[in-house]
Structure formats: structure tokens, C-alpha cells
């Protein structure tokens, strides 16, 4: 059961990721990224992190990606044009990626003592999570809220400045 679900949604993940790369229209890339994220949410569920699954859907798929699609619509970004690009990206980048993947894969494959995930595994309930989050890690949590506030202000300021540039009158 677990195996089947894993295979199905891991397949979705990879397919979405690859699709993100091959699609030339940003909106398609965005949608495929949404697919990746939602299937990742399912994988989280399989790993017993149900709250994170919900948060993944709400925050990533529901908020961040909506923002992306908004921006795509707003800027009316069409198909990306074929610029020659940079040689460094190809000459240096791809070997690097391959090396990265190779090293990571070697380590993961040679790592002993990794357990397995099954349907009958326990589920981390939201209570446990929040217990840790609101007692041990209260300060980081609050700091994050401040960070988000700052982010809101910053983005508003950036957008405003753009307005100001366009119409110097105001």
C-alpha cells in the first residue's frame, strides 16, 4: 500500500519537476511545481507528518504558488525567448550537478541503519508539534513572525517605489 502510494506520488514529483524544466511557458512551470508540492504533501503524510502535509498544501500550493501565478499573469510573461545564455552555466554547472548528485547518491546508498516507512507507523500529531514549537522554540517562532512582517513591509515598499518611478508627480 505504502509502496504503491510512494511510487505513484514520487512519480508525480519527478514528472512535475521535469515538466517544470521542459515547459517553456512560466504558467505551465508554475502548475507543474504545484503538482510537485501537492504530491510532496502526500509523501509527508506517508511519513507521518500530517500537519506539515496540510501546511505544505496551504502555504506552498495555496499561497506562494498563487502569488507566482499572479505575478505571471500580472507581468503577462510569455514564452521565454531563446537567448544564447552563458557558456559557464553549461560548462561548469552540469558537471557540478552531476558530481553533486553522484556524491549524495553514494552517501545515501552506503548509509547503513536507515529505517523503513510503513503504513502502521505512528503519526506525529499536531499537539506534539505545537508543544515543542510553543515551549522550546517560542523565541524563533516569534522571530519568524517578525520576519514575515518585515517581508510584507518590504514587498509593499518595493511595489510602491515602482509606482513612484513611473509617475514622478506623486
Amino acid at each position: 500500500m505504502h509502496l504503491i502510494l510512494f511510487i505513484v506520488f514520487a512519480g508525480f514529483c519527478l514528472a512535475g519537476a521535469v515538466n517544470l524544466l521542459v515547459q517553456t511557458h512560466p504558467i505551465n512551470s508554475a502548475l507543474s511545481l504545484i503538482v510537485v508540492m501537492t504530491s510532496l504533501a502526500v509523501l509527508y503524510l506517508l511519513l507521518g507528518a500530517e500537519f506539515l502535509a496540510a501546511a505544505q498544501v496551504i502555504v506552498y500550493a495555496g499561497a506562494i504558488m498563487v502569488l507566482f501565478t499572479f505575478v505571471v499573469m500580472l507581468l503577462n510573461a510569455g514564452r521565454e525567448e531563446r537567448t544564447l545564455g552563458s557558456r559557464a552555466a553549461l560548462v561548469v554547472g552540469f558537471p557540478a550537478v552531476v558530481a553533486l548528485l553522484a556524491v549524495a547518491a553514494t552517501v545515501i546508498l552506503h548509509t547503513q541503519g536507515l529505517g523503513t516507512a510503513a503504513m502502521r507507523d505512528g503519526i506525529t500529531s499536531t499537539q506534539e508539534l505545537s508543544a515543542v514549537l510553543f515551549t522550546k522554540l517560542l523565541l524563533p517562532f516569534e522571530v519568524t513572525s517578525v520576519l514575515i512582517l518585515i517581508a510584507i513591509l518590504g514587498s509593499v515598499a518595493l511595489a510602491r517605489s515602482g509606482e513612484g518611478e513611473r509617475t514622478p508627480g506623486e
Binding site: A88, V103, V107, T111, Q112
Partner: protein
């Protein structure tokens, strides 16, 4: 009182005043600035008075004399070398504190009137409070290093105050001159401290004294060297030969400053320092001799210059130098009490002289040339009478203050063996000269007719005349506390600190003879001055023309400034200019700039190909870096795993 006299408040109050006025003064209203500036010295004066009760027997007696208060944590603590913030209050420092805070307070009050037309008086008062802070630290210091802090600090304050009218080039230059000349003296002081440290391993005065008294056979040699180095410092600060040159120029500052710093307190720091370290000088007759000779020579030298000066303040400046010479003469013949006594009386009448002169200048609208004054005695009666008292005092008129103090010194010089007689004679001649130029000043200023037509002299406000009156009383009667054998009560008071000198316990008859001679000398000086200056006459100028050579020599102050500038200033200037232009500018800076520029351009030429601004190439390099890092972290493990399939450390720690 549980032992503590709150000595730390004495310096700290003026410092608080300095901070308040220095930081907020520009904003604060003038009245408030003045109030702060006056209250702080008043407070410390009150504390000094309350502290002095213990010494004078009234009020609760002290647990121990000298009374030591030190912060509970050390200041410097390096191996064997150990210095802490310790304030010592004994009879000597108490006398000094009374003079400093008392006279300082009077001069603060005086300044209110004198500086009221100045803008930026907040700056002035801030500096004045700063000076008080450092001076009290200097006096209270229990070790040489803390004293040195105060020593440098008063130098700074005097620099700031001399250059108070910094828009005047001469003032700024005078400040610089004072600072530089003092540096030379301070250098000597530093060397002296190093020698102390090397030989005694401590800078605390009491410890050094204890060490010395522990082994009485220890004399001469190193002690002489140390004493002489300290004395160099003293000559710098107290304007003795050969470093006196800064004091006359220091008269560029406001007159109250000249009164406080360059007459009453700061310039006497050298005398205080020698008295404080007298146990060292006692052990080296040679050093004492040098001190005595320098003192006497300075006295005579400065007096002769003072004869022909026409600027009222310069006359007083040279007279200050020569009076300081007296004090050093006293120290040189080991009559420290007498020196301190003269220091006290001198601070009274010299402060009075300066303040009176300041009031004259104030009344004359900034005119300082005596040749343009005259006939002021009706126009400024209070100034006239107080000035008269001061002149009589300094001239050694019987039973005025200097009569006692100066005679004590002369007597001590006479009875001290060796060249004592010579020194005494020099002192006597100096006394005559002193009374001559003082009466010359007096006549030129107050008698005859007003020789300037644009000036409209008027009496000064009470805030200036009040201190004058008080100081006048002091300088008239101030000498009586030193009346009697061994300087009477004063000597007895200081005896625990400075010791009794058998020379002072001499025959009364001889002492009276001395006094008579001194009075006679003063009388001669007054007579000559009367002949020349009581009414306008050509005799003085005739004399000058007939002795043109000596006269010019005196007018040009023995060309000392010129000689110094030729010997030291010009060569140093030339050398430093050369150094700046060629070594620093061309070689170091130029070479460095060339080198750095070259390196920067080289790196830029290499690196700019990287910084293409293309996001994706950046990402590529980033990825490469990440891969390299990962490899670096994991390579040994991966190799091992490839070879022998053992566990990976990071995961199997369970």
C-alpha cells in the same frame, strides 16, 4: 565620620560641571551655565573645608594621617607593577587643595564679570572646571602615575584656555608653544617615573619614602638622576630656566586664566611635586644644588626682563617666573615648608595682581600697554587700593604676606652652607628688582595722567571687585600664620609631611637682620621707581639710551626665543618637513598607493571576467562550489565505503 572624607567628590564635581557645560552648554541659558560653573568649585571647596576640620583639630579626628582613600579595584595590574586609584590627603595636599579650590572659586566668580561680554563663555567655564578637575587630581594623587594624569590634564586645560580666543593667531600659537615646551618637561617627568619604577618597583609615594627610610645609606647616583629628571619636569610645568619661555606668551589667554593657571595654581605644580617627592631630593645634595641654582638664576633673570616690559600682563608674567624661582630656591635649600609658604602667599597676591590688572584692562577696554594708562586711581578706586596692597605684599613691605615668606626663603638660603650666601645675595638683588618693576607698574598705571585718549576707564562690577577685596585681605594678613620660629603655625602644620629643617631653627636676631636687609632692598627698588615714574620724566628714557646695549638685551628678553628658534625650532621644522615630503609622502604613501593600486588593478583584471552579471553563470559557479564542499566533507568516507563496506559514522552513532 566613618573615615571617608569623600575625597573623590573633590575632583568629580568640577568634572561633572565640565561635562554638563561642555556637552549641553551651547543650548543652556547663560545664567544656568554660570550657576553650574560656580556651584561645582563651591561644592568641592566645601568638601575640602569639611575634610580640613580633621586636620585642624576641630571636628572629629582622622583615623590616620595621611588619610588615604583608594578605589577598591586596581587601575593597572601587570605582574609586579601595580597601580591603583588612590587619593592621599595629608597636610601638604590639604594646603594645596585649599589654595586651589578657594582661589579657584574666587577666580570663577571674577570670571563671571570678566567674561560676560564674551560669547562662548560656556566653553570657557567648561575648560575652567576641567582644569580644576585635573589640578585636584594632581594634588590628591597618591602615586606618580595618577599625578602624571593630572599633570598632563592641567597642561591640556591650560592649552585650551590660552587658545580660548583661537581666532587670534597669536593666541593659538601661544597655546601650541605652551603645549610643546611642556612636552619636554613631561618627557623628563616620564623618565623620572621610569627610573622610580626601575629602582623602587612602585610609584606610590609612601612606599618609596618607606623604602628610602628603610636603608638610609642609599644616596646619590640613581637618586640624583631620578631627582633631576623629575626636576626637568618641574621646570617645564613651573616655567623655570631654560623652559620658562611659554609662560609670558601664555598671557594671550583671558586674564582670569592667567591668574588661576599661570600664577596661582598650575605653575606651582612643579614646586608641589618637588615637595611631594622631597625625600628623594634630600638624598642627593647635588640635585638640591641644581634646583637651588636654577631657582635663583631664574628669579634674577626673569626679574631683569620684567624691568623693561611695557605690557602690564607680561610684567606680571615675568614676575611670576621670578617668584617661582624663589620657591625653587627654597626647595633647593631644603626649606620645603618655606617654599610652600611662599607658594601660598604668592598665590594670594599674584592672583590679586592679575585680577586687578584684568580689571584695569577691562576698564581700559582691552588696552594692555602701560604707556597708554595712567591716572586710574580716581577712576577705579577699588582696583587701585587692592592693587596697592598686592604691590606692597610682593615688594616685601613689612608684615605683608611676602615679607614673611620671601624672608623665610632668603634666610634658609643664607644659613644653608656652601654657595648659600651667593644664592641669598642673588635673592636679595631680585627682591630689589621685584619691588622696582612692581612699583613701576603701579606708578605707570595709576599715577600721572591718562595717556590714552580713546579709552574711558570705569570701575568694574562687584563680581570682579569682590574677589579683589577678599584676595587683598588675604595677601595683607596671609603671612601672619607663618610668623615665628620655624614658620610658626604653618611650619608646625606642615612638619609631619615635610619635616623640620634644623636650618630654620636659627637665631632670631640673624633672622631679623635678614628681614631688615630685604626690606631695605625693597625700599631701594621703590625709591628708584619713584624717581623714574612717579611723575612723567625723561630720566628713564635717558638711562635707556645711555645703556642702549643692555637695555635692548632686556627688551628682547635676552633673545632667548630667537636662540631657541635658531637652535631647535628651525632644525626640527626643516627635518620634519623633509621627512614628511620625501620619506612619508613620496616613499611610503606614494609607494604604497602605487603598490595597492597595482594589486587592485591586477585582481580586477582577473576577477572581472567572473563577474559577468549573468545570474546563471553565478548559479553554475555556486553549484560547483557546493559540489566541491560536499566532496571535501564526504570524500574520505565515500572512499572508505567504496573500499571496505563499513558503516558511515554520521548515521550509525546510535
Amino acid at each position: 565620620m566613618n573615615g571617608s572624607l569623600h575625597l573623590w567628590l573633590i575632583p568629580l564635581l568640577p568634572f561633572a560641571g565640565f561635562l554638563l557645560n561642555g556637552i549641553l552648554g551651547r543650548k543652556l541659558p547663560k545664567a544656568l551655565v554660570t550657576a553650574i560653573a560656580l556651584l561645582m568649585p563651591l561644592g568641592s571647596f566645601a568638601i575640602v573645608l569639611s575634610a580640613s576640620r580633621g586636620f585642624l583639630g576641630i571636628g572629629p579626628p582622622l583615623a590616620s594621617v595621611p588619610h588615604i582613600e583608594s578605589l577598591d579595584y586596581p587601575w593597572i595590574n601587570a605582574g609586579l607593577f601595580h597601580v591603583d586609584f588612590s587619593f592621599v590627603l595629608d597636610q601638604l595636599s590639604l594646603v594645596m587643595l585649599l589654595i586651589i579650590t578657594g582661589v579657584g572659586l574666587l577666580i570663577h566668580i571674577y570670571s563671571v564679570g570678566y567674561m560676560e561680554h564674551e560669547d562662548g563663555s560656556w566653553r570657557y567655564f567648561a575648560y575652567l572646571n576641567l582644569f580644576l578637575f585635573f589640578m585636584t587630581v594632581l594634588v590628591l594623587a597618591g602615586n606618580a602615575l595618577l599625578m602624571f594624569v593630572g599633570w598632563e590634564g592641567v597642561g591640556l586645560a591650560s592649552y585650551l584656555l590660552i587658545g580660548f580666543w583661537f581666532q587670534k593667531t597669536s593666541a593659538a600659537d601661544a597655546g601650541k608653544k605652551a603645549f610643546v615646551v611642556n612636552r619636554i618637561g613631561d618627557f623628563g617627568f616620564l623618565i623620572g617615573m621610569f627610573l622610580l619604577l626601575a629602582n623602587f618597583g612602585t610609584l606610590t609615594f609612601s612606599d618609596i619614602a618607606a623604602t628610602l627610610s628603610a636603608n638610609p645609606a642609599w644616596t646619590g647616583g640613581v637618586l640624583t638622576a631620578t631627582a633631576l629628571c623629575l626636576f626637568v619636569g618641574a621646570t617645564g610645568k613651573s616655567a623655570q630656566l631654560p623652559l620658562y619661555v611659554w609662560l609670558p606668551d601664555a598671557m594671550e589667554g583671558p586674564t582670569p586664566v592667567s591668574a588661576l593657571i599661570h600664577a596661582a595654581t598650575m605653575v606651582t605644580a612643579g614646586v608641589y611635586m618637588i615637595a611631594r617627592t622631597h625625600f628623594l631630593f634630600d638624598r642627593s645634595p647635588y640635585a638640591l644644588g641644581v634646583v637651588a641654582i636654577i631657582g635663583a638664576a631664574t628669579a634674577l633673570f626673569a626679574a631683569t626682563i620684567g624691568l623693561v616690559q611695557t605690557d602690564i600682563k607680561r610684567v606680571l608674567a615675568y614676575s611670576t617666573v621670578s617668584q617661582l624661582g624663589y620657591m625653587f630656591l627654597g626647595c633647593g635649600v631644603a626649606a620645603y615648608s618655606a617654599a610652600i609658604f611662599h607658594l601660598m602667599t604668592h598665590s594670594f597676591f599674584k592672583a590679586l595682581l592679575f585680577l586687578a590688572a584684568g580689571s584695569v584692562i577691562h576698564g581700559m577696554g582691552g588696552e594692555q600697554d602701560m604707556r597708554k594708562m595712567g591716572g586710574l586711581r580716581e577712576r577705579m578706586p577699588v582696583t587701585y587700593w587692592t592693587m596697592t596692597a598686592a604691590v606692597l605684599a610682593i615688594a616685601g613691605f613689612p608684615f605683608f604676606s611676602a615679607f614673611f615668606s620671601k624672608d623665610a626663603i632668603l634666610y634658609a638660603a643664607f644659613v644653608s652652607g656652601g654657595i648659600g650666601k651667593v644664592l641669598w645675595f642673588v635673592g636679595l638683588v631680585t627682591a630689589a628688582l621685584t619691588s622696582f618693576y612692581m612699583f613701576r607698574l603701579w606708578y605707570l598705571t595709576f599715577w600721572g595722567e591718562l595717556r590714552s585718549h580713546e579709552a574711558h576707564p570705569h570701575e568694574s562690577p562687584w563680581s570682579m571687585t569682590g574677589p579683589l577685596a577678599i584676595l587683598a585681605v588675604l595677601s595683607v594678613v596671609g603671612g601672619w600664620i607663618g610668623f615665628g620660629g620655624n614658620l610658626g603655625p604653618f611650619g608646625r602644620f606642615l612638619a609631619p609631611t615635610l619635616g623640620v629643617h634644623n636650618t630654620e631653627a636659627g637665631a632670631a636676631g640673624l633672622e631679623w637682620g635678614m628681614s631688615a636687609l630685604a626690606v631695605l632692598a625693597g625700599a631701594i627698588g621703590w625709591y628708584v621707581a619713584h624717581r623714574f615714574y612717579s611723575q612723567p620724566s625723561e630720566s628713564a628714557t635717558k638711562l635707556a639710551t645711555s645703556f642702549a646695549g643692555p637695555y635692548n638685551l632686556l627688551v628682547h628678553k635676552y633673545y632667548v626665543d630667537e636662540i631657541y628658534s635658531f637652535l631647535f625650532v628651525k632644525p626640527v621644522l626643516a627635518l620634519s618637513r623633509f621627512f614628511l615630503e620625501w620619506v612619508v609622502d613620496v616613499a611610503i604613501l606614494g609607494g604604497l598607493a602605487w603598490l595597492l593600486g597595482g594589486i587592485a588593478m591586477l585582481c580586477g583584471a582577473i576577477l572581472q571576467r567572473w563577474q559577468s552579471g549573468n545570474l546563471r553563470s553565478y548559479a553554475a559557479w555556486l553549484a560547483l562550489g557546493a559540489a566541491a564542499l560536499l566532496l571535501f566533507v564526504l570524500l574520505p568516507w565515500t572512499l572508505l565505503l567504496a573500499g571496505i563496506g563499513i558503516h558511515v559514522g554520521m548515521v550509525t552513532h546510535q
